[in-house]
């Protein structure tokens, strides 16, 4: 197992956001994390990338205990986190944003840059434009591209379809699939859009108020009563 979380606890000033979560990602897998607002999905990703310190539990990546490492030591191990809301550097150009993504490597891998521009030709067209002027979908592609620049083995994506029109979301999801297939990058995908996420993923976890309430292969989850009732019904 390349990536494994054991009994992860995170609290914000005494309030438990994650209450003993177990989760794993195998090499080459896309694993989705489904759950409503406030379930703790972003918190889980933030704990993995070191932005918040866990109160308990362990996180292992390629047999390395990364539980209490600061983010700048986690990125070089091969984990890259594309945060919720994209968070591109609005005042920098598209290309400067991508170069920032390679900060941890301390050099720019032009093969990766070329791959990103092939994957997202619109980013290439707009590479001299400031990121703030891009559309929501383009900013999402830029955010994903930026997180690829550090050559991760595991990509953490927080709600890449947030606020995007259905057609644009679909495009983003197909890019994610392509990254996984052609670059052999494992992906932990956080989504509120359960149907789309399950279609894309090999396996999934359902998180409710800081606990995993259900997990399994995407097919199993699709057929589970809990998902049908609470998450798949309100498909947009």
């Amino acid at each position: 197992m390349m990536f494994r979380i054991n009994s992860l606890h995170v609290s914000y000033g005494g309030i438990m956001a994650l209450d003993g979560v177990d989760c794993a990602v195998n090499e080459g897998e896309i694993v989705c994390l489904i759950g409503g607002n406030g379930a703790g999905k972003s918190t889980l990703l933030r704990a993995v990338s070191g932005l918040v310190k866990p109160a308990g539990g362990t996180i292992y990546f390629n047999n390395l205990n990364i539980t209490n490492l600061p983010p700048y030591k986690i990125v070089p191990t091969g984990i890259s986190h594309s945060p919720e809301g994209r968070k591109v550097f609005a005042a920098l150009t598209v290309e400067e944003n991508l170069i920032m993504g390679a900060y941890a490597l301390s050099h720019i891998d032009y093969d990766v840059l070329r791959f990103i521009y092939d994957l997202f030709p619109r980013l290439k067209e707009r590479r001299k434009q400031t990121a703030g002027t891009l559309s929501g979908g383009e900013q999402q592609m830029l955010a994903i591209g930026r997180s690829l620049m550090s050559k991760p083995k595991l990509l953490l994506l927080d709600e890449p379809s947030l606020g995007l029109a259905p057609l644009v979301s679909k495009e983003v999801f197909s890019h994610i699939k392509r990254i996984n297939e052609t670059q052999k990058i494992s992906i932990l995908l956080v989504e509120q859009n359960a149907a789309a996420a399950l279609k894309l993923s090999h396996r999934g976890y359902v998180l409710e108020v800081g606990k995993v309430v259900l997990s399994g292969s995407s097919e199993e989850l699709f057929d589970s009563p809990l998902l049908k009732e609470s998450y798949l019904g309100k498909k947009r």
Binding site: S49, G50, P70, Y72, H81, F89, M100, A104, S150
Partner: protein, 297 residues
Amino acid sequence: MDIFSQQLINGLTYGSLLGFIALGYTMVYGILNLINFAHGDMVTLAAFLAITIAPLAVAAGTLAMIITLAAVVVSVCIIAILLEKIAYKPLRAAPRLSLIVSALGAGMVIKNAIMLIWGANPRIFPRNLFPAGLAKFSDISVSYLSVIILLLNILVMLTLYIFINKTRVGIAIKALSTDYSVAELMGVNVNNTVMIVFLIGGGVGALGGMLIGASYTTVTFSMGFDYGIKAFIAAILGGIGSIPGAMFGGLLLGLTYTFCSGYVSSAWANTVTYLLLIILLIFRPNGLFGRSLVQKV
């Protein structure tokens, strides 16, 4: 020499001094959203350290100036780093208000320490630290000190410009001031970067403190307040968070103040200056070089 040229040089000199101090405010604000109220007192501390160190360095002859400058700048850099580690770092996740209170407290500690060590009376700043005398450019004569101050201003500005835009640490500083947690996700070492920012702010501020001492010949333990406030305003005028903004904000404030003193009256200089600045901020709320905060989201 005509009055206008004289005022122009005085204004540029005064503005450069404010710019040296403003830089520390603006860089710390840029990455921590913190107004480092202790900064003005650090600047004062530099002037007093020079009072103690200069006589010791005189034995070294012509190198005394370099030795004193280097010793003071290094000491203040170290103290600035300690200030950050002790007063600010433990509060990094705390509400900004707690951090501001800590900054005010740290400022008072430094100010009172200066008073206890060097006394409450004004002290004479060593005269031999910088070359005295006048440089003549056709019919305009300028003190060597002003020439040094103006040259240093240009030098510091260019060095920082290159440093911020071309080096890895500079890029980390830029990323941190744009978005703290995203910079972390890019692999920026936050603690080191914050430390370097305090080091630069402290070092350039120390230079400013000594040049203020040399320009005005006496220094008092409480002078950090007035210079601090003016430099802070210069930073806001230039657009807080912007490095060229701090330098140009300093120049703008220095020139306005000096010309008001010269052509209106020195009693009215503060009033007229701040009135003009308020008007400027009404039309450019983010200062000369400031990013629009709305756009930042």
